[in-house]
Amino acid sequence: MKRIVLAAMAIAAAASLFASTHPDGLDKTAQILGFAGRAKDHPSLMAGYSFVSGIAGVLIIFALFWSLAYGLKTVRNFKQPPID
């Protein structure tokens, strides 16, 4: 579990340093066809991906699923019987 999350953090960190800054397929198409200007920004917690925010994003996503599993383990002190 740790290895994959660490690998994801490493990929995110590397992406913040080496990823291409060119517009992606949709943004480029919008520029060529001349409707890119219609895009509106909306408020978000940290616009864009930096070294730190990329790693934070990986942790946020993993934490969401981890807490889901944690929350679902609500039955305590109960020996799980064999399920048929």
Binding site: H22, S44, R76
Partner: protein, 235 residues
């Protein structure tokens, strides 16, 4: 391929949100079935005091398989998020990035796959301003439902006649092309630009991105499986 706000008209945005919501509820029901189990009444009676709490929660509990499955969903989501950050240059000042829909669906099944991509999209939208707030429904339809759930079945049917790796690659390429097609239809039908202009240019721009998606998907599945043991859905 994250649609920002402003490209879609309100009708399209609302319709896509509705479609996304309905499909995701269905996916969640499917995943719930996979990760929980109903405890037989006999076992409940034998369990004594602890059983009351189980009764209260509808006699459905998270199985230990389910717990590991959800952790694996988290790992796959973390990987997909990181991979999506990695924009790689393609032709003439354009870049592309991974969707990861087929990757997630092949590793954890189509329903979990759609949920994984939706969570990634929601976090990207809320925290990073990537993809519009009102456009989240359309983005979920394109990348999670078409790019993961629907594309999984391309893989599923191809696998019956083709080798595993080939099926994954074709499905991954198709997932990008289908998502690009859906995306251009939504923008075109919103009246932002004519369909005749956007559909061909979007598809053309994504041919190479799809090839990259296919290669990274195969590598990702291999790496994930090597690091976690066999794919969770086969357990």
């Amino acid at each position: 391929m994250h649609i920002p706000d402003g490209f879609l008209d309100p009708k399209m945005s609302a319709g896509m949100m509705g479609a996304a919501a309905v499909a995701l509820v269905f996916c969640m029901a499917k995943v719930r079935q996979a990760v929980t189990a109903v405890i037989p009444a006999k076992a409940l009676a034998a369990a004594g005091a602890g059983a009351n709490r189980v009764m209260a929660s509808g006699r459905r509990i998270l199985t230990s398989f389910g717990e590991r499955y959800i952790y694996k969903m988290g790992m796959a989501a973390a990987l997909v998020f990181a991979a999506q950050m990695f924009n790689f240059p393609i032709a003439s000042g354009t870049s592309g990035h991974m969707i990861g829909g087929v990757l997630a669906a092949v590793l954890l099944g189509p329903f979990a796959g759609a949920i994984i991509i939706s969570v990634v999209l929601a976090v990207q939208m809320l925290f990073f301003g990537d993809g519009g707030l009102v456009a989240i429904g359309a983005n979920i339809v394109n990348m999670a439902l078409i790019g993961s759930l629907v594309s999984y079945y391309i893989y599923y049917f191809l696998k019956k006649v083709l080798p595993e790796t080939t099926s994954v690659m074709i499905a991954a390429w198709c997932s990008v092309m289908l998502a690009a097609l859906a995306c251009s239809l939504q923008i075109g039908l919103s009246g932002t630009i004519s369909l005749g202009l956007i559909v061909p240019s979007m598809l053309k721009a994504h041919i190479v991105i799809g090839i990259a998606e296919a290669l990274i998907t195969v590598a990702g599945i291999y790496a994930f499986t090597a690091m976690t043991g066999k794919a969770a859905k086969e357990e």
